[in-house]
Symmetry: C2
């Protein structure tokens, strides 16, 4: 058995998988918003212990634990730096060693998006394909590439599909640049745009729903609820996001001609097949070879894909 | 020794290279504008005989001839179809066999952009890199990808960087779609835009220069001459092209994180280093990782790159 961790800005998801990579234990908790790497690493260890208990295994008996992390991940050194969404996590933190010592097993690190892409490729909806583009539609828009059955990292930073430009000189992106796909499709950018429109006097139930649900952010669930309520602004902003996704993904397919596109992430998984179809429809007018478009499918491992993919970092 | 052919819409360039891939003979002639595949294949054979004569070799003694072609190239079947820029060349034509019979040697076919990219990777400015993006800036904008020291073809149509979108809903592209990089940067699209602006009453010397030089199209040389003359419209349209190239190439680098970008093609080679620098400058604001941008260099094999790369299709 081995462990897997998906470290996100909002939550920590852990799993224990058996030798066939089936999930035999899992646990989840909120990511500590203060206390820096120390507090976060301690929370990860606790979550793993809980998952291990559910799987009736001691963490020290695991073949190892893999962790998918945001930020600059150095797999060889076992460090994570510049994790902008995490509390006080700028300097490289030796999380592989700290966590390994706490659990009594070896820990391997990988990039969160890449491990989630690998999981879909090896175990999920991408398993019949040799090349695929993973698009993780959430707070930001991340991307992972499988080419020739292997993850493509470039010089270490490949896959930034969120920053493929869809409109030169267009909307401001949270990254500071202009016209990126994420500037239209990322949940953070969409929330900022919704706030700007409210300030201009436009109406929406988005923030009312947010307060009713006791949230501080427009989560995927709140966007989904607003759509069900027929909220006009939510519909417009999601439509704008889907168009940007279609355009940026089509550009990427024109460049790479991959067999499949896998849509994951908080919004991607929440919105599911209906929206995968809408994204594909928006891709079509931009596909250079449009008589054999790639398969476009929702990540089948759902929420657990990141943690399962992280466990795959531990090879026999 | 082996032969190489670069079949273009305007000209046929042939070379004979020795065992170290040095050019020992070359010939060039205009691509026949009528007579279909038969006339074109005959012209290719003539050009190869002339190049072989210069290299003091009989075509039958060559280890083989490689040919880079536009259109749908089927390397295994030895056919080319749908070569839109060539006379009456829609149906698959068995050019490998026809040409091989005429020359008394085997003929292998490849995609024109991919063989030119391979040439720069193996022998040209890309030879110190393991991953590169070739951008061929000419009548259209073609792209070739080397990833992990091998050409990446996807499902056969990878590399269409000309149809990476730089502005959703933007300018009409010769391909019929909207907002493609080629809609702003391709020579055909630039000429169409220049004609539209002239019809609206804007002034330019572009078409006067074209007539003086006895041309029917705005060739790379005419654009270069207009720029030297300080022609305002030429400057604006080239500037627009450079901005689109910078944006589309940066998007591609964000996705692939390649080590190098090689700028080739008629305009790319003609405009040279100064414009490669300008393209890089326009890439910078869109690069997600901007502290280590890829090398951006002009194709060092110049005009002969396509034919030399085609010769590389013949392996010992």
């Amino acid at each position: 058995m081995k462990g897997g961790v998906d470290l996100g800005g909002t939550k920590i998801q852990t799993v224990i998988v058996d030798d066939r990579n089936e999930v035999v234990g899992q646990a989840r908790r909120p990511t500590p918003t203060k206390g820096g790497p120390e507090a976060i690493t301690a929370a990860i260890a606790d979550s793993l212990r809980e998952a291990a208990e559910a799987a009736k295994v001691a963490t020290g008996e695991l073949a190892g634990v893999g962790m998918g992390s945001p930020g600059d991940v150095d797999g060889r050194k076992g460090t994570v730096a510049n994790a902008g969404n995490l509390s006080e996590w700028k300097e490289p933190s030796p999380v592989a060693k700290t966590l390994g010592d706490a659990l009594g097993t070896k820990v391997k690190l990988g990039n969160d998006v890449n491990v989630a892409t690998t999981a879909e490729f090896e175990l999920g909806v991408g398993r019949d394909h040799k090349s695929l583009l993973g698009v993780f539609w959430g707070t930001g828009v991340g991307g992972g590439l499988i080419l020739n059955s292997r993850i493509w990292l470039g010089r270490g930073a490949a896959g930034e599909i969120g920053h493929v430009v869809v409109k030169r000189g267009g909307a401001k992106c949270p990254c500071g640049r202009k016209g990126c796909m994420e500037a239209y499709a990322g949940r953070a950018a969409m929330e900022a745009e919704a706030r700007r429109r409210v300030e201009k006097g436009e109406k929406t139930k988005l923030f009312e729903l947010m307060e009713q649900r006791g949230r501080e952010r427009l989560t995927s669930g709140i966007w989904a609820r607003a759509l069900r309520n027929g909220d006009d602004m939510a519909e417009k902003l999601i439509d704008r996001a889907v168009k940007a996704l279609g355009c940026g993904i089509a550009s990427s397919v024109n460049l790479l001609d991959v067999e499949a596109v896998v849509i994951g992430g908080g919004l991607g998984v929440r919105f599911g097949e209906t929206y995968a179809k809408r994204i594909k429809k928006e891709m079509m007018p931009h596909l250079f070879v449009d008589d054999r478009p790639p398969t476009v499918a929702v990540a089948s491992l759902g929420d657990l894909g990141g943690a399962i993919g992280a466990a795959l970092l531990i090879r026999p």
